[in-house]
């Protein structure tokens, strides 16, 4: 606007200035009319913002998602919490209120918590997963040949249905299956069933989980990296910073919030692993996780009340860990400049 005033002939400039002032006046008036104005009618104009229909509109837009959210998330969660105080078997029309009995049972039966050791495998795997995803995200954020092709390859596993992945990897790990035949091409003969004992079974399953979820982490990281302005790299290069220094001082601090989000997702994910072990081993051979155990309590032993309590406890544990994590690593606003 200042540009035009400089170049344009006087008359135009004046009109322009007038119009700017008018607008200011109008806004001032709307704010409360603290400034005296020349050409305005008395009192603020009745804005369309004040009509009742207009005020209700955002809620109308929100109604559909809210209704869905409440019906399919909050109501079920609330009923789960209410079941957790009963001895319901899942079918019977009658149920008795048992107070905190189910919770007492969960905390007095150590074997119910032992399954969390299995989560350790998945937690270790998610460290690998984040590292791998970060590595590829950084590499592919630089100009490379076939970038998009590699992006697609890395993200692809995340798009496949978890059940399908379970079946595919069942054949993969079979005795004499894909993995064994590939290994035999390299002269490695393996006589050990991959899912045969708890340690190798859990490592194999955690490996499948890495394969599946690396793509998600990768996309998150890549998005964050690409939002870092390109001039920063140029400036760094001029100053003689290599790739590693660029990563260390520009990329890593730049995507810190996304990394901390990934860590939270990784922790809560490894505590509540379900699909892959459930499809592939059904929790046999020491691969049972907390969620599988909960499912079995509810649907094999008809202890819906106890299982609901277990689910509530898992929810609380995840909330607690998230809270601690946020305390330790506060979510600062990133400012690279």
């Amino acid at each position: 606007m200042t540009d035009t005033t400089d170049t344009a002939p006087g008359g135009v400039a004046v009109t322009r200035r007038r119009s700017v002032r008018d607008r200011n006046d109008a806004e001032g008036g709307a704010r409360g009319g603290d400034r005296p104005t020349g050409r305005r009618r008395a009192g603020p104009p009745r804005s369309w913002r004040h009509s009742p229909l207009r005020r209700i509109t955002p809620w109308l837009f929100l109604a559909a998602p809210l209704a869905l959210l409440i019906t399919f998330t909050y109501v079920p969660v609330a009923s789960m919490i209410s079941y957790s105080f009963t001895d319901w078997d899942g079918v019977s029309p009658d149920r008795e209120n048992v107070g905190f009995d189910n919770y007492v049972q969960i905390f007095t039966r150590p074997e119910l918590f032992r399954v969390f050791f299995v989560s350790g495998y998945y937690l270790a795997a998610s460290v690998v997963q984040i590292a791998v995803a970060l590595y590829f995200a950084v590499i592919l954020s630089f100009n490379l040949k076939f970038r998009n092709f590699f992006k697609g390859i890395l993200f692809f596993p995340y798009l496949i249905n978890g059940v399908a992945i379970g079946f595919v990897f069942l054949y993969f790990f079979q005795d004499g299956g894909t993995l064994d035949s590939v290994l035999s091409w390299f002269g490695v003969s393996n006589d050990h069933p991959w899912l045969g004992d708890p340690t190798s079974a859990n490592i194999s399953l955690a490996g499948v989980s890495v394969w599946r979820f690396t793509g998600l982490n990768f996309v998150l990281f890549l998005g964050a990296i690409q939002s870092i302005p390109g001039e920063l790299y140029e400036a760094a290069e001029l100053d003689g910073a290599g790739r590693w220094k660029q990563f260390r001082h520009i990329i890593a601090p730049g995507i810190k919030p996304v990394i901390s989000l990934s860590v939270i997702l990784a922790i809560s994910g490894s505590l509540s692993v379900f699909e892959i072990p459930y499809i592939m081993t059904g929790g046999a051979t020491g691969t049972q996780t907390f969620v599988i155990q909960t499912i079995k309590l509810a649907f094999q032993f008809n202890k819906t009340g106890l299982a609901s309590a277990a689910a509530v406890v898992l929810l609380l544990i995840i909330l607690l860990i998230t809270w601690i994590q946020r305390r330790l690593v506060p979510d600062d606003k990133v400012d690279l400049v």
């Binding site: 109501v75 029309p93 069942l170 059904g282 929790g283 051979t285 032993f301």
Partner: protein, 442 residues
């Protein structure tokens, strides 16, 4: 301003949600007590009925439709539709919280026996039905019967006769030791897998439980579990059953990698002679013979042998009930539904076709059990009078007699994938069972 309002509003919504919640749930319970009597005049009965079944294969292949067409020849005005459900137990259990769970259904294992009158219409008194049908005591509450068994099965080992012969064994083993020696001979002489556990699919492991009763020739073996009886103590039937499975796995006579087994392939492998033996119900014989014919082999090569224990020089085979068919208490066409149950059990020819034991007492043993009949195996119906109490204890103890989990752990213990000795394993099961029996199932 926006923030405060949002909180108020969402608070209100949450409160409403909680209110709605406390109002719903547990929709069962309708007009109880009305007997679903068979219609007097087949031509007169009319209405639409929906039949829930777990045999999705039969629904998809149109076999069930063909049965319905046969049914319509006698009951022309009844319209029958089928609902095949893959995860029968899980899904029907949830459906039963509302009223729409079909007109005819199979009673899910999860329903407590005392709740039968709330969900199902009585089909008659015990006195009326027990003389006609097997296993009527399984669904009896206060002198009334709520379900009629679809069919019964005898359990035993399905085996490849040619393979066993090749290993030099022609007579049925009469003791667990002989049986194990037989499996070993197969392993050494033929190179086939002597026994296939179907560990991954799991449910075939459950079939072992059905031998309870066959070991001691005891029709009351099932009922005897209702109490703190340490079922896995030395000399107990379950100890003999699970002990044999343990020995098979321990001596390396089962498949090398149990964790990736596959039921569908196992049928062909048995027919082709790459697997020698599997523990299953007599219902499986037809399927195995089908697989043999598909593979271009002789159906006669598939044999069936009883559990390797004899009592007084004779083998025993307990005949145990499959799912029980019931009529929903909410059905609007109870006479038509009852007509279907009776017709399906007695006249459909389903049992003969599937090679299973008919629930009708007067019906002869199926052709699949010819070997048993010829060799003078003693058949008896295992009583189910106290099954409900046994199930209660089983659930409370979280063992799962009819679930694969504890046997998977047993096999893992045998092959060294789980820690501990088998004695400790059985002792732990006994302890859990006895403790649970003190609070549940009385």
């Amino acid at each position: 301003m926006g923030n405060k309002k949002t909180t108020v509003l969402s608070g209100a919504l949450l409160a409403t949600a909680t209110l709605v919640l406390s109002a719903c749930g547990g929709g069962g319970g309708g007009a109880t007590g009305e007997v679903a009597a068979p219609p007097a005049d087949p031509k007169g009965v009319s209405g639409e009925i929906k039949v829930l079944t777990q045999r999705t294969d039969l629904v998809q292949k149109g076999v069930m439709k063909a049965y319905a067409a046969e049914f319509n020849k006698i009951y022309p005005k009844v319209k029958v539709s089928f609902d095949g459900i893959t995860d029968y137990e899980g899904e029907v259990k949830i459906r039963m919280n509302a009223k729409a769970y079909g007109d005819v259904l199979l009673i899910p294992g999860a329903v407590a026996k005392n709740d039968y009158p709330k969900f199902f219409a009585p089909l008659g008194t015990t006195a009326e039905l027990s003389s006609k049908y097997r296993f009527s005591d399984k669904a009896e509450v206060d002198g009334k019967v709520y379900g009629i068994a679809q069919f019964g099965t005898a359990n035993g080992f399905v085996y490849n006769k040619a393979l066993w012969k090749k290993a030099g064994i022609t007579a049925w083993p009469t003791t667990p030791q002989e049986f194990l020696a037989g499996l070993k001979a197969i392993k050494d002489k033929t190179g086939a897998t002597p026994y296939y556990t179907n560990f991954k699919d799991g449910w075939p492991l459950v079939q072992w439980t059905a031998n309870n009763g066959s070991v001691g020739c005891d029709a009351n073996a099932g009922n005897k579990l209702a109490g703190p009886v340490s079922p896995w103590k030395e000399g107990g039937e379950l100890r003999a059953i699970d002990g044999l499975l343990y020995d098979i796995a321990k001596q390396g006579l089962s498949e090398k990698d149990p964790t990736t087994t596959n039921w569908e392939t196992s049928k062909a492998l048995l027919a082709e002679g790459r697997i020698a033996t599997m523990m299953l119900g007599s219902w499986s014989i037809t399927q195995m013979r089908g697989a043999a014919v598909d593979a271009g082999l002789r159906a006669d090569d598939i044999g069936f042998m009883p559990f390797p224990v004899q009592k007084g020089g004779k083998f025993c085979a307990a005949v145990v009930s499959d799912y029980q068919q019931a009529v929903s208490v909410h059905s609007e066409n109870k006479p038509a539904a009852r007509a279907w149950v009776d017709w399906f059990t007695e006249k459909s020819g389903f049992s003969e076709k599937e090679g299973v034991v008919s629930a009708v007492k007067s019906a002869p043993m199926p052709a699949t059990l010819k070997d048993f009949v010829d060799n003078d195996v003693t058949f008896f119906d295992r009583s189910e009078a106290r099954t409900a109490a046994v199930n209660d204890i089983d659930d409370a103890a979280e063992i799962g007699l009819n679930k694969p989990d504890y046997r998977q752990k047993l096999i893992d213990t045998a092959r060294g994938a789980a820690k501990g000795s088998v004695e400790d394993f059985f002792a732990d099961l006994n302890k859990r069972w006895d403790e649970a029996a003190k609070t549940a199932g009385s």
